[in-house]
């Protein structure tokens, strides 16, 4: 099976590509020419395709001979909030370009990486947030994801939508000036490799077509913003002075009972902390 993975040079994209390649898939990685390709170049079974998701001709070229598309390419916050037009071009028109390129065959499924931000601010609701919760865009990014979901749903092509929680990587990450959630806010992240496993699982399960799934870490990842940041940096052995948002934002605890059939929640938060401690030793922080 040959996959097109858009946003292939990004953090999640590279993780998905490595996992797909290791499981025997042939992968065509699509991303902009000027991004850092080092994380995926040279991997066996991975073909690099440099192009722009906003260019229909380049997208059509990338889709030739493809059996399924994992669409991860998107402009993410904070960049997405600086330029609405560009965000809509990349996140919405980009999705449209892929759906048009797949239209002649109507056979290759589109696995669309959406986001839990489509639910908007849910702090006033009883958790967990399920897939049937009303959608409410709160910024350029979440609005673009709602529109991209709509395109997939109305396309007539086979699709699966994954509303993925913020992805955690076991590595030292710098704190932003303001952490985009409150310290007492409910948050739930997902380990990068678990998100990649969810995507692969969808590829292998035709019964997921036409469905929407929350993809998040599970109960061990459900905590407050302060607990997440505290445990993350404590595992790295680093003292930090985080400044949290004063407003509730579009992040909560999620109902992942529907997506449990994908078998992707393999890393509980204690496992993740152990990975961080190992990274800290390798980086000379411990």
């Amino acid at each position: 099976m040959k996959l097109l993975i858009t946003g292939g040079a990004g953090r999640l994209g590279a993780g998905v590509i490595r996992l797909c390649a290791s499981e025997g898939y042939l992968v065509r990685a699509f991303d902009l020419p000027n991004v850092a390709w080092g994380t995926v170049s040279g991997i066996e079974n991975v073909e690099i395709f440099k192009g722009d998701i906003t260019d229909p001709a380049q997208v059509a070229g990338a889709c030739v001979g493809i059996d399924a598309v994992v669409h991860l390419a998107a402009l993410l916050p904070p960049s997405s909030e600086r330029n609405r037009d560009l965000t809509m071009r990349v996140n919405v028109e980009g999705t449209s370009n892929i759906l048009k390129a797949l239209r002649p065959a109507r056979r290759a499924p589109l696995i669309l990486a959406s986001s839990i931000t489509v639910y908007g601010v849910t702090s006033g609701d009883e958790p967990p947030v399920g897939e049937d919760h009303v959608k409410m865009g709160t910024d350029n990014y979440s609005e673009s994801k709602i529109m991209a979901e709509g395109l997939a749903e109305s396309s007539g092509s086979p699709y699966t939508i994954l509303r993925i929680a913020p992805v955690s990587v076991a590595d030292l990450l710098e704190l932003p000036e303001t952490i985009p959630y409150r310290e007492d806010q409910r948050v739930e992240f997902i380990y990068l490799e678990d998100a990649a496993h969810a995507i692969i699982s969808v590829l292998e399960k035709p019964e997921t077509r036409g469905r929407i799934y929350n993809v998040a870490g599970g109960s061990s990842w459900q905590m407050t913003g302060a607990e997440y940041i505290g445990r993350f940096y404590a595992a790295l052995g680093v003292d930090v002075d985080p400044h949290f948002s004063e407003k509730h934002t579009a992040l909560d605890w999620y109902d992942t009972s529907r997506s449990r059939l994908l078998g992707y929640q393999r890393t509980n938060f204690n496992d993740f902390e152990a990975k961080l401690r190992k990274v800290a030793e390798e980086l000379g922080l411990r």
């Binding site: 953090r11 850092a36 998107a74 993410l76 916050p77 986001s115 931000t117 990014y141 993925i164 913020p166 992805v167 590595d171 030292l172 990450l173 710098e174 704190l175 932003p176 985009p180 959630y181 680093v238 930090v240 992040l251 980086l283 000379g284 922080l285």
Partner: protein
């Protein structure tokens, strides 16, 4: 004084000396000032980054400090433009590495 403070101090010296440097055109002076200021800004914006505490970060700060001091010597003992250009380019290479590593380690919440 830490190495990062040493680098900043050296770059402050570079900026001061370039303002009164003899033997260069006004255009070259403007260009050198802009480049040195840009390097100083990168150091100031990154000096509190957590990754600078890692082994890699410490090595990069060491290289940055060394490049800054070399540039300071090049402007203090200014003889020819080629030597100055070489020292400036070397410093810019160090600041680019720092910017790239900071970008790579930025937390994105989607």
């Amino acid at each position: 004084m830490s190495e990062i403070e040493g680098a900043k101090k050296a770059l402050e010296g570079v900026l001061e000396i370039i303002k009164g440097l003899k033997g260069i055109t006004p255009e070259d002076r403007r260009s050198l000032l802009a480049r040195a200021q840009s390097a100083y800004n990168v150091v100031a914006q990154n000096e509190k980054k957590i990754w600078l505490r890692t082994s890699l970060g410490k090595a990069m700060v060491g290289d940055l400090n060394s490049s800054s001091v070399t540039l300071l010597k090049a402007v203090e003992q200014f003889k020819d433009a080629a030597e100055l250009e070489s020292a400036m380019s070397n410093l810019e290479a160090q600041t680019r590495r720092i910017e790239e590593e900071t970008c790579r380690r930025s937390m994105v919440v989607t």
